[in-house]
Subunit: 426 residues, 2 copies
Amino acid sequence: MSKLVAPHGGKGLVCCLLEGAERDAELKKAEGLKTIEISPRAKGDLIMMGIGGFSPLDGFMTKADWKGVCEKFLMADGTFWPVPVTLDTNDEDVKEGDEIALVHEGDVYATMKITEKYEMTEADKKWESEMVYKGEGEDSVDGKFWEVAMDDHPGVQMVMAQGKYNLAGPVKVLSEGDYAERFPGVYLTPTQIRAEMEKRGWSNVAALQLRNPMHRSHEFLAKIAIEVCDGCVIHSLIGNLKPGDIPGDVRIKCIQTLIDNYFVPENVINAGYPLDMRYAGPREGLLHATFRQNYGINNMLIGRDHAGVGDFYGLFEAQDIFERIPYTKEECPDPGKALLCKAMNIDWTFYCYKCDGMASMRTCPHTKEDRVILSGTKLRKALSEGTEVPDHFGRDEVLVLLREYYEGLTEKVEVKMQKAASGSDM
Amino acid sequence: MSKLVAPHGGKGLVCCLLEGAERDAELKKAEGLKTIEISPRAKGDLIMMGIGGFSPLDGFMTKADWKGVCEKFLMADGTFWPVPVTLDTNDEDVKEGDEIALVHEGDVYATMKITEKYEMTEADKKWESEMVYKGEGEDSVDGKFWEVAMDDHPGVQMVMAQGKYNLAGPVKVLSEGDYAERFPGVYLTPTQIRAEMEKRGWSNVAALQLRNPMHRSHEFLAKIAIEVCDGCVIHSLIGNLKPGDIPGDVRIKCIQTLIDNYFVPENVINAGYPLDMRYAGPREGLLHATFRQNYGINNMLIGRDHAGVGDFYGLFEAQDIFERIPYTKEECPDPGKALLCKAMNIDWTFYCYKCDGMASMRTCPHTKEDRVILSGTKLRKALSEGTEVPDHFGRDEVLVLLREYYEGLTEKVEVKMQKAASGSDM
């Protein structure tokens, strides 16, 4: 009997991926089906449904699910879920009852039985955007959300650009894409990570969400978790990011270098998951915890500006949302369908000269002048121009790799780098 | 409704201290009672019963309690308790049914109704010593316990020196001693600490047990707790220690100086509790957690060699014991009487030059040569002789105070210092 936290939703790992002969037969069948071209986001969602990362989902959401998730974080059957997992299309012809093939850039990722086709008006998309992407914190751009969202919020832009309909129904997943080849030993399924953690005897595990290279602040978060848990999974997004972000392979190499030089390897796992960024801010923090539960992780590290998008959210709104949504066993209408992975909140962290080490706003009483705080923009500038990065900000071994990457980039596309986007969720 | 952990035993805070007119009347009555001179340990136990620190105890243990506690950590009524709280005497005359006054160095601390007087043979004391003080870890002196215990184990020496009888029965406590005057603002009762924590909105709280000055390693433990809990109570033993240990007032001053310079004051409480050391090793770690629960604390920091006595226990035996005793809700025969304060285990900690900060064996992959590790003996030598203490071991502001103390001591009693005892539980 595993001591790890049970998968989300009370149905065990729900894996929609077909294998072997079954997969071959379904692929054959797909050749004869009408095809729908899907977004990169939907591709990631499908792979997660395939490997059990999105348990208990076994397909895209119905209108009732979509509405419940947007409005109160609950699917129609009472399962907690924080962001819509929907499939959009402009196709007028497909109809309920049809079986279709879901295709991305020429590859068939799944077949799907359409159980519901529902219209998504502009008003629906706007409502979804407000419910899912609008911040609530004092520091967020709550009041003037629509003034800036269409220009500056990639999550809202994606929703508003969706098609006229959503298609719901169960899927049979036929491909994990090229993640296993591109990230050998790092792209690990929930089953694989659970097996590794059980081998190591872990039961109380934290995850560090990363979509940027790992600096001292991130290292500090992981190490706090390692002090008080059995171990930490450094879990990087290896799907698509914004243009200008550092590619997955560079980030993974940086993390491995950091582990090799500054971690006790038995207490950490370097892994990646196949999703794209949704840019859903605090709600994405909840999604991070939800799918981490499927990976056997019961503590989600949430730091400063987790999954932040520009200035859209308060710096600690992703921590606060865990307090105010009906996700705990006690408050969820059906305790078996509540989120069991908890937030492990960590304050703003930095190196402090007076503290003589890493610290946070919760432990360090000193002033700004005593602390090493660097913006992502200034860091990228220093790395690309080869100028000094302040002491104690990052590890030399990692900075060397980043400099190499940025130098290569500068040579190739000078202009691209200037646009390098900011935004943090680590 | 308080969000803090409930007091141990399911009966709320059981406070046996009388106050006002009731106390005056009982003191008057005590003048006419037969008196029993009690040990300093019993004095501390009485004060704890007085202020609710030993809830649900309302007196000294019966033979059935004593036996159950030694044998299986459970009192006769199924309440978890890790070490005997008994009152010994050689008095042949007192008998069951008597009411007596309990006196220490001329002061009346309590009256007691004797409900049971039971013999403690040499064999009984030896059995208690083995059950309570003998280690189990591989590194402990398990095999040759009796060869060394009588010479070197202060806990065993205290038990073996006890009288021929134990007296059991409920007490009415009449004095808290001089702790409130000697440690103003630091000697705080469970009621006071709970009120302060509620005012601060804390519900998830850790305690750091201290009987030595606070160096970087202790600071690191407290700060890890502050990162993941609402706050940390730095809770020093202010009762009696071994000769050569640093007195409570000096230690408390060091801690306050450390807090003033290196902590965010809102996240920490500097407090003391009125017990003597029992030198019970791992079992004392459990006692630390048990009475902390009464103070509203639900996480007990347990580091390396917690409550250690010479080489009697494995370095992490006090962590291991929390795993193997029937204390959790699930395993305790009566869940309402289980220990609810959990161990927050932290590995061996130190400053590491390569890590560029504090680290532990769980996070630091480097070698002994990279780490600042100092024995208590070497430290005391450096402090008293005015030679350098290695960088990063302690905070300058604290070391200044310790140097002052040791210099004063050297001037007064040169020889005393040489005998300064070691032993750690921080």
